[in-house]
Amino acid sequence: MLTQDQTRCVLEQAVATGGDFAELFWEVKEERNLDDANGIVSRATAVRTAGAGIYLLCGTRSVYVCTNDLCFSSLMEAARRAAELLGNGNGKPGEIRFRMQQIATPNPVKLLPGSVETERKIRLLRETVAATAQFSGLRQMQTGYFDSDQRVWIANTDGLFTEDRRVACRIRIHAAMEGENGKILSRWSDFTRPAGFEAISDSEATSYFAADFLKRMQVSLRAEPIRSGTVPVVLDAGSCGTFWHECCGHPLESVAIAAGSSEFCGKLGQQVASSKVTLVDDGTIPGLYGSEAVDDEGTPARKNILIENGILKGYLCDRLGGRKLGSASTGNGRKQDYTYAPVSRMTNTYLAPGTDDEEEMIRDIDRGLFVTGCGGGCGGREFSIEVTEGWWIENGKLVHPVSGLTLNGRGMEVIRLVDRVGSRLETESGGYCGASSGLVPTTSFQPRMRVSAMAVGGTAE
């Protein structure tokens, strides 16, 4: 990172043409990856990414310039470029006096992955792969070990000078499996820990994860097609919270609100969902993948209540989004790396627990769908999520597995139909959310809950 004096010079250069705010984001990220294909380490890589971005605001106009040439003169040139791209503004930031902001990370690290010998990581990978030997029908099996250690420094013309370190380790399994019926399925899953190597080094846990993943694939291979129709849908506790991420989370980001592309625009204080719905985004929860000390603008992460008992309470804001909506940042200015400008993004998004009985939600259904695993999806005016695992319900009983379906609808219509929310909140290990500022780590989780009617599609006659 530059010295404070150099940083001050870069920021002053950036606001020279009238910007009212400038920020320097400096990043160094080290990543290591080992790939195992069918029991052989096929690849080992280590990547060091280093770069910086200069973010300039003037009212609601923004400029972002980035480079991976990190010498002081190049950064001054980047600042000049940013000022030139802004053109004339009327901002007059005062003298920059830095104050160090130190916020403890919610995800502390005991053993930095960079300090662990590669042989130990290979051993972990091999022990994990060994747990899959008992499974037949595997056409292809790739297992990957990944760790990343991202350090960011953020300084701005308001005088903020802060840093954060985000470390994560992960085992990814990608398998193609053939069932007895000749059906083939390809699927991947991650075992992620936002911590040091100590959190992933127990091969019993990773082996259990690998075996469980393949068992679930075996169940999905027995999936039967269903007939299209409109039925009650129960989404299980845990990672089925993707539903909330796609149908509410994205439309509640200030970038969607400011663009007018969200159905939640202008609805603050109004009933937008069933009264059973309380939706929270919280970047401070220890041990979760979406948590961090500060967002990528240096704003401390915090807990934001978005919907409370069905009433819309707030939006997720980055600094620029906040300016556009006339509010402050909510600590959600996030981005993949220095090549992106920050944008409002989710952290850990969850449906707060209710009081309903989990078993009754299913018992009560004549014909319906029980979703136990979700893949990715997308959000907007209409959302969709991929159902990777689930069961068809008839007369209150699970009758056969289903797979490869899509649930979609208009978010605000669907969340009004939530008629059960269970009391047992279960978290998940998390994944990446992709949007205009790249891939950011998030989690989305929930207690078991039910939507009284959703269209589900299938190919059965």
């Binding site: 380490v41 890589t45 129709g229 999806g377």
Partner: protein
């Protein structure tokens, strides 16, 4: 062009166990100008250079860095050190005489002032295209990709590609119904960006969105318009991936020369196309990017190959070695194949004639999840989309939150007619390749919804 300094020195003393080495520098420069509601709202500039090394011999490995001032000999040593842990065997490297030779320049750079002017003009055209539009933004982006590849046996090749990309977003409200359109298109130069034409396209696509009526799920004749086919092709190209076909994980594995689609269906992957601002001269292995016919009259005739997958099938690489991001990394360093401009070739049918032939069915105007809808191994897809219900060739009502279901091969077989309205979408969310398609009339498809 990128200058790789002192690479000759680095190649003079290769690391122990290494008999051949390659270094490739790739620089991506982007300048973007966004106009929104009458003023410049957002601008950006980036310049990111990444250097990749591959070494092969008794020890073979890869390394990459963004430390552009670093010693290239150290980078080769890192690649060798990484390789010491892997038992993947020698890395295939293209023979020098089979590589692209010389240097190639595509496209034309634009000035910031030209881009500002075009963005403002496009924003204005968008806002006046339809009274129902209440918010619009237009981004004009110049993407420059420069590559320089050198090898220890004397290869020294370069390419420099400028592409202009336009991103459009409009939001509108008609009779209390909110709708929006977002899309991208590309051009070889800023002069070729036609604001009126783009605004007209946005307006037409907005007009296709109305308050939806009810829908009865079932089997329908379907007209898939270009945006819906684009999203399918974003993943479907993988069915033609040489590595996937060799591993048996593509639904088209072992179907080479088989009839896997209707006789009116032709699919190609091209390094360049007059309707697209993006070009490719060679892949990261130095192999020239050749046009590849993937499907001809419904018969599978080609795959996308790098050196390794080509060797598996006993053919030559067609220059599709590509890199994908490896999970977390912003640096794409996972070696695989990638298409360039993967498109369904246009037929001779006008949109009007296709709609007439649709008669009773669903016109799918858009789908909205590009990446989670198709399992390339089984070929099964379930794609969320919206569209318009037709009866006797006339639109009766809009339908939304519907989904189409089936398998890729069955969909290919069910193509009854191909439109003449090819449109190419640049880089949708991938920054790596483009997809293109005309409208397709499908004989029968399962459609769910309510």
């Amino acid at each position: 062009m990128i200058l790789l300094h002192n690479f000759e020195q680095a190649f003079q003393a290769l690391p122990e166990g290494v008999s051949r080495a390659e270094i490739e520098a790739e620089r991506r420069e982007v300048v973007s100008i966004e106009a929104s509601n009458g003023e410049i709202s957002k601008t950006g500039a980036s310049s990111v250079t990444t250097i990749y090394a591959r070494v092969s011999g008794s020890v073979s490995g890869t390394a990459c860095t963004q430390n552009i001032g670093g010693d290239l000999a150290d980078l080769l040593q890192n690649a060798r050190n990484n390789g010491a842990y892997a038992a993947g065997g020698p890395i295939p490297m293209q023979r020098r005489e089979m590589m692209f030779s010389g240097s190639a320049v595509f496209g034309k750079p634009a000035t910031v002032s030209e881009m500002r002017g075009k963005a403002l003009c496009l924003d204005k055209a968008l806002r006046s295209a339809d009274n129902a539009i209440y918010s619009a933004s237009a981004e004009v982006r110049m993407e420059r990709t420069a590559c320089h590849l050198v090898s220890s046996d004397g290869a020294n090749i370069q390419s420099d590609d400028y592409a202009m990309v336009v991103s459009v977003s409009v939001q509108a409200e008609r009779d209390g119904f909110g709708c929006g359109v977002e899309f991208e298109c590309s051009a070889v130069s800023v002069d070729e960006i036609d604001p009126e034409k783009i605004a007209q396209q946005a307006s037409e696509r907005l007009r296709l969105q109305q308050k939806p009526g009810s829908f009865v799920p079932g089997k329908y004749r379907v007209l898939l318009e270009q945006p819906a086919v684009w999203y399918l092709m974003l993943t479907a190209w993988q069915a033609f991936s040489g590595p996937k076909c060799s591993a048996g994980t593509s639904c088209l594995s072992a179907k080479m020369q088989n009839q896997v689609g209707s006789s009116c269906l032709n699919i190609s992957d091209l390094p360049t196309h007059p309707a697209c601002g993006c070009h490719s001269a060679f892949d990261f292995e130095g192999t020239p990017c050749m046009p590849v016919k993937l499907m001809e009259n419904g018969r599978m005739t080609g795959m996308l190959h790098n050196l390794e997958s080509a060797a598996h099938f006993g053919v030559s690489s067609n220059g599709r070695a590509g890199r994908a991001p490896s999970l977390t990394s912003g640096i794409p360093n996972l070696y695989t194949v990638t298409p360039r401009i993967c498109l369904i070739e246009p037929g001779s049918n006008s949109k009007e004639s296709l709609l007439e032939r649709l008669s009773d069915g669903v016109r799918i105007t858009e789908s909205y999840d590009p990446f989670h809808c198709l399992d390339v191994t089984s070929g099964h897809f379930s794609i969320p989309c919206r569209g318009i219900l037709y009866k006797n060739g006339r639109p009766t009502c809009n339908v939304s939150s519907i989904a189409i279901h089936g398998t890729l091969e069955n969909l290919f077989q069910m193509v009854e007619a191909v439109g003449n309205d090819l449109m190419i979408a640049p880089f949708i969310m991938t920054h790596a390749y483009c997809v293109g398609a005309p409208s397709l009339l499908i004989r029968e498809l399962t459609v769910s919804g309510k």
